[in-house]
Subunit: 232 residues, 4 copies
């Protein structure tokens, strides 16, 4: 058994959850899982439909986006994943999808407001929409720059990737992450649901206001604070 076998299996399992959760059409998504000791991550190969995917096909890549093991080309979003792993030490898995509602928010270039406790149970702030890249970045190493587009947005807004585990890349689509593959995929599904609820809330009542701070704090802390007790 190769030293990456377990990692590949973890990445495979996480990738297969995307179609189960209704988060991908065809190949519009990918999950990677990192091994911090080995300084690599396993990621979906490029263009392979989910129904044909096998654990062996996962590609092992280092944090500079060099392929370490695997006969297939890694996902075209691999450089974005690599940048995020390299810059953010705390994350162990990354998910990228074009899930319908979250992508529509990304296309609208709007942050998703904290309209309710479903959102606040997972994040105390709006889900940020990183502005589209400037033309220089686009002409450069595009997927690499997408990683910095995400990181820069977090810096400008003074957010940490441990506190908030999701972002919308403007005009593109969402990325989510977490300490584990399970958490990263969970976040992708939660983001899609929160995006749908926010769309409906605004359509029902265009003047809808965000949750007040005291309520945001309460919900987030009961799940994440030092005295957390949440779980439905």
């Amino acid at each position: 058994m190769g030293k990456f076998e377990e990692l590949k299996k973890a990445a495979y399992d996480a990738n297969m959850q995307l179609p189960e959760l209704g988060l991908v059409l065809f190949t519009f998504g990918n999950v990677s899982v990192a091994d911090r000791d080995l300084q690599v991550f396993a990621i979906k190969p490029s263009g392979v439909p989910y129904k044909d995917l096998t654990p062996e096909q996962m590609v092992i890549v280092d944090f500079d986006a060099n392929t370490i093991e695997g006969s297939l080309r890694p996902s075209s979003d691999t450089k974005t994943h690599a940048v995020l792993y390299k810059e953010w030490n705390s994350i162990g898995s990354i998910v990228h999808t074009h899930s319908t509602y979250a992508t529509a928010w990304a296309q609208s270039l709007q942050d998703i407001p904290v309209y309710g406790t479903t959102h606040a149970d997972h994040a105390t702030v709006p889900v940020p929409c990183a502005p589209p890249m400037d033309d220089e970045m686009i002409k450069g190493d595009y997927e690499h720059e997408t990683g910095y587009q995400i990181i820069n947005c977090f810096k400008e807004r003074n957010l940490s990737p441990g506190e908030l585990e999701m972002i919308l890349v403007g005009n593109h689509a969402p990325f989510t992450w977490g300490a584990t593959a399970h958490k990263a995929v969970y976040n992708a599904a939660v983001l899609e649901e929160v995006a749908k609820m926010a769309f409906l809330t605004q359509t029902i009542y265009p003047a809808a206001a965000p949750l007040k701070d005291s309520l945001i704090r309460k919900h987030y802390e009961r799940k994440h604070g030092p005295h957390s007790y949440y779980g439905q």
Copy 2:
């Protein structure tokens, strides 16, 4: 066979209906079922995914929210359930979900108007949206206070829990109840459907008017009145 076994089984069965009816994502919901003679209720344990749930895991709790039996922590919404059972003698089961359309209405802080007979077959009044708690209540015993948020809203509007079996908790999500677990779960699904129809009605025609009183009365009475005969 323990004296709570039947009650646990009833709570388990009712909880498992939520994913079947498409009313929950992950663990975003819970059902409890009360035994009025024993003065306890069985409720979903906290944070356990529906696919892993077993009847034995249900937690037995009294109406002051003390755990009577069970090795797992009860749902974080347990205190809300306890308050409702204690204050409202007529109810035998409570359902809490974050179902998408009902939650969007709760996030918009709007009551759901009686736009049609689907609504009137189940309630003669708009589904009320209880206003968000004041900050003192939030800082206090939050889930306990959520129970009173619901009870106070009913008092202020002069509603009885036997007449209307559903509410939206502002910025949060719906609660429904009933004499039996079957009825409480049924109400949760009906509320979600009524919420979706009301969203669509308003979007199709923003000036849509509520049903006239004579029609509301007729539909409600044919199902619930002394001469009820309804059933499609």
Copy 3:
């Protein structure tokens, strides 16, 4: 084998198509099938969930709404069906649902405009929304009057039930019909799809205009005219 056995089986089969086509929640719908020679129709019993339904439970009713055979109470909408069979000789089956999008249009009291050929393939006119009953009719024999609400709307608009096989009952929900049970159920599913498309069309472009007459005629005639050749 009883003389109504075949008729009951036809009504049962047609009723079971409603949940398969996603047109009903719980018991919110019913199908009847008529035998013109015997001057009766078979209809769903009242309040029986679709999963528990059997062919034997179908109730045989005459065109004055008297139960001829069956131990269960017929659907609470039975009198509406009876009136339509009695007044309209050409129809052999009736479907009533609370399907989500068609019901939202009924709740908005708006006709569904002919926005495209999907509609025109089935009807040359908007799907009419019959205005809510006046209070006298509501206080009277309500389900019986619902039949006349439908018939009066067709008369006022100069429509024939052979030409157009669907209607929205204002503030309530749709009824469809056809020469056969297959056609009546087909119409219920088509109406729901047309209602969804019209909702989306208006939301995408509020100034959307109906199809021009020449195109309505063409599409309807290629499917229904003397030289019909349609079928995708």
Copy 4:
């Protein structure tokens, strides 16, 4: 084995993907697959429900819409397919559906703007909505003229069918195509998803702007350009 057997099987398989992908209700769609050497295409027979379809039923038609082999009538849209094969040498398969969101855009007579990279990964331009036919064309050979309605729209906009593989026929519904049946069906599903995302984007933020040119180019070229490397 007849010389068209393989072609019929390919057309059958492609047709069966439409219900699997949720793109058709009843018989509202059809796929054809061409054999350029034999100068024919296989197409779905008219009016046969997908569940009853068999490979043998596929009808073989030449590029002038004459039936070459088959006992059933070919789809009523056959002449549209024939015109497109005859005029556009590069295409090997055509798909027509009334998929919900794409059809709603067609009914609104609006092009689908390039709101995000999901669109740009497949097309650098808005999905055009061909204007409704003039009355002379409608009275003439309608389905034949629908082919020219599509071709004329591409000419007027200076588009080539190799560059853009999808169109909305105004007031009607979408057509997509591709070198292979797989690609044509893939395009039909992508168009439906892009149409849904665009609807949501506009509803979330009515002032939403199209993607800037540099980003459109980048995404399209990484998938289709001479240095393409895309695949998630």
